[in-house]
């Protein structure tokens, strides 16, 4: 391996890593609440809401991310009233914003699937007990359903986070230079294909390891252990 190439490539890849990180952080930070909302919609008793959310999820899960990013970036700009709306144009007119939007919409669909199964796996008795205590639906969601579902969903969600980091590479197809975009440019510039590939994969693996470790720590934090001494402190009803 040639070290001058490594020294040359790393600063460029670091600037790319910043963009990748930006897209991924927005993807996780906005995609998670969006996905949970979708999951709630899919488990809601309202048939119309349920069907609409189902359709959204199957469309975004059934088509490649590349098509989605192209539809958002190239396709939507064609529609007149979207162009004239400043807010939407701010979202889709710029490559980086469009990439973030695409990642967010895409990961929302997958996250919804993860959380839907988590919500469905909750024991009925707990929710019924909460209803019997007179909790409002919002409090049941906040204090019973969500904490339990989060614990169920976290292992699957951590692999979704790794997927977000990888999917953010598609931003390079709409001229946003993130890690893969820089890697391609460096490959055609230096012709040291294998060296650049190895350095780039180290970047991606580091990002993934950091993300997965953080989630693993969170998982351990949330892990439910029955400690006999603490049992007295738990009160069944919010008073």
């Amino acid at each position: 391996m040639d070290f001058t190439i490594v020294a040359y490539a790393i600063p460029f890849l670091l600037t790319g890593a910043k963009t990748t990180l930006l897209i991924s952080v927005f993807g996780v930070g906005l995609g998670l609440p969006f996905g949970i909302l979708l999951a709630l919609a899919r488990t809601s008793p309202n048939r119309l809401v349920c069907k609409a959310a189902d359709a959204y999820c199957s469309v975004f899960r059934g088509t490649p991310m590349l098509v989605q990013i192209f539809v958002i970036y190239y396709g939507l700009g064609q529609v007149g009233f979207l162009r004239s709306n400043p807010v939407i144009w701010w979202l889709i007119g710029d490559g980086l914003h469009a990439a973030i939007l695409a990642v967010l919409l895409n990961t929302g669909a997958y996250t919804a699937e993860i959380f839907r199964t988590a919500f469905l796996s909750l024991p009925r008795g707990l929710v019924e007990a909460a209803e019997a205590c007179g909790m409002s639906p919002w409090i049941i969601l906040r204090r019973i359903k969500f904490p339990l579902a989060l614990r169920q969903a976290l292992p699957s969600y951590s692999s979704e986070v790794a997927i977000i980091v990888k999917e953010s590479s598609l931003a390079s197809t709409i001229a946003v230079l993130e890690i893969t975009g820089w890697a391609k440019r460096l490959m055609s510039e230096t012709f040291a294909i294998m060296d650049i590939f190895i350095i780039t994969s180290v970047f991606y693996l580091t990002l993934n390891v950091v993300g997965l470790t953080a989630l693993k720590l969170l998982e351990r934090q949330l892990w439910f252990e029955r400690r006999p001494t603490r049992r007295k402190a738990a009160s069944p009803c919010p008073s």
């Binding site: 991310m65 098509v67 993934n208």
Partner: protein, 237 residues
């Protein structure tokens, strides 16, 4: 509105071009997936049996390919082989063939490389869930190891692996869209060409999206049927 649609899709022939592209996509996906699956079997067995050096090498391969975007793998294979293929082709006098068939071969190879890495994990997981007792029973009946593997382990593991293979297939068919970036004439590339020439990207990318959606929906149904078929006699039915 409808007239322009009609003229774009039928009279200018873009509809047919997109359908042909879709066919190419299905072919790349299928061939890549099958090559990946066949290659994954020995690798998965190596990991399952923990064969010393091979097992670690397979591990590194699968971790790297699964941890890195598909686009990067495609760039590596495509840029990494241009020079080399050109030289080989000139030596053997197959220059023309090499130039026309080259993107498709590399495209299929890239898809196979990616799907193989995921298939290894699926198969290893399935092989590990085959009950030990069955293998011991086979051994006590003095079945040769090859027969025990082909008649007992493999059929059981395949049933367990089917769900995972379904996931890998869904991912593979969607990954084929990435090959368009290096110039292969499949559905996504056709849509991009059509969008460029006719200046109506929204229409053509939406058509491409719906064709992809149709592919995944149909294959999902087929896998559902296959799963029901292989589960006969297992779940009370």
């Amino acid at each position: 509105m409808f007239e322009t649609l009609w003229s774009l899709i039928v009279e200018q022939g873009w509809g047919l071009a997109l359908l042909r592209g879709a066919l190419v996509t299905i072919c790349i996906g299928l061939v890549g997936m099958v090559i990946g699956l066949i290659a994954a079997v020995p690798f998965a067995i190596a990991r399952w049996q923990r064969i010393p050096v091979l097992s670690q090498m397979v591990d590194v391969y699968s971790i790297v390919v699964r941890g890195v975007p598909g686009l990067l793998v495609i760039y590596l294979l495509f840029f990494g082989s241009v020079d080399w293929v050109q030289k080989v082709a000139v030596v053997f006098g197959y220059r023309d063939i090499a130039e026309t068939a080259y993107p498709s071969i590399i495209g299929i190879l890239a898809i196979a490389t990616i799907s193989c890495a995921y298939s290894i994990e699926v198969m290893r997981g399935a092989l590990e869930t085959v009950p030990k007792g069955l293998l011991e029973a086979a051994k006590s009946l003095a079945l040769p190891p090859s027969v025990a593997f082909l008649r007992i382990t493999l059929p059981l593991a395949l049933r367990l692996a089917l769900g995972g293979i379904n996931n890998v297939w869904q991912m593979t068919i969607k990954d084929t869209s990435l090959v368009s970036i290096v110039g292969m004439q499949e559905l996504m590339r056709m849509a991009a060409i059509a969008a460029g020439i006719t200046r109506s990207p929204l229409l053509f990318y939406c058509i491409a999206a719906s064709l992809f959606f149709a592919m995944t929906a149909v294959s999902q149904t087929l896998f559902g049927l296959a799963e029901r078929h292989t589960n006969r006699g297992f779940s009370g039915g």
